[in-house]
Subunit: 180 residues, 2 copies
């Protein structure tokens, strides 16, 4: 079975290819006007519809973000943009003195095939450090410690590969594709 | 001449009605999926096209934001959303110790009539205070002091009404409508 992953990000594509080993995965270089929404699912559904119109073949999109309850869910669906603007230092400043340092990564896959769209979710709960730690990973990895652990994702990339929201969602998607 | 202002915000509508006194202004209750972009113009152009498809009559949209150079243009086109999430307190924290406290409000109007779209811009330069001041206005007004003045927009609403990015852009638009 051949399906497309609509993404401009080659790292995301490589990660998906490793998990979805049962299908023939192809990359669709996806450019579109992403909508504004606080819901990953709404963004992913909309993007999957647009990607399907371009590919005219089974295709999925993935969207993810870091949600911080003490900041009302900021940076959420705008995580990449916020990081680009204010950096990890900005997030740590906003969290200075916050009692609740909880955070969660969330990912959402929307898969479109003919007339139907399926949506899968995955998340990773944890907390934010008070300073950046570690050199691995990317994005918010240096300030995120998954629940039940001591190291950040950037300090322990093996941990990240097993626990990450994206990995969990891809695994769900892989199961979904096998069992239907 | 009858034109529509596509907005869900009654305060914006009232402000526009006061400035655009030469035309018969009607409000179009506008709901749409706004695109994500760092450019007010790109967002406004897209929204004007969508509004025109709904109204099928001459229609304009207005978009605005606060751009802070020390924060790489943050919160920019996402100003309302950022304010909702991290508040003025969040912006002041991000600006703690910043040497360059410069900021500018920008507004953009996109007007669509049959096959053409016209775009008008207005801005207001100023700087950010170190604490909130004043009870008037809304949004970022309590931390913004326009260039050449000492009071924030929230402390002096008359000042705001004369200098604001939105007022300037509406004035430009009014001139445009009169002279073509």
């Amino acid at each position: 079975m051949e399906i497309f992953f609509a993404t401009g990000n080659k790292h995301k594509f490589a990660e998906a290819k490793a998990v979805l080993s049962d299908v023939e995965l192809k990359q669709h270089q996806f450019r579109h006007n992403e909508i504004r929404s606080d819901s990953l699912e709404e963004i992913a559904r909309d993007a999957a519809e647009k990607a399907y119109r371009q590919c005219k073949a089974p295709v999925f999109v993935e969207d993810s973000g870091l949600f911080i309850p003490a900041l009302n869910g900021f940076p959420g669906t705008y995580s990449s943009w916020v990081l680009e603007k204010i950096g990890l230092d900005g997030i740590l400043r906003l969290m200075q003195g916050a009692e609740n340092r909880e955070a969660r990564f969330e990912a959402c896959i929307a898969y479109k095939e003919a007339y139907d769209v399926w949506v899968l979710h995955g998340s990773c709960h944890g907390s934010l450090t008070e300073e950046e730690r570690g050199e691995g990973g990317f994005g918010y990895d240096p300030i995120f410690v998954p629940e039940g652990h001591e190291q950040t994702f950037a300090e322990n990339i093996t941990l990240k590969n097993k626990l990450s929201h994206r990995y969990k969602t891809l695994l769900e998607f892989s199961r979904f594709l096998r069992t239907r």
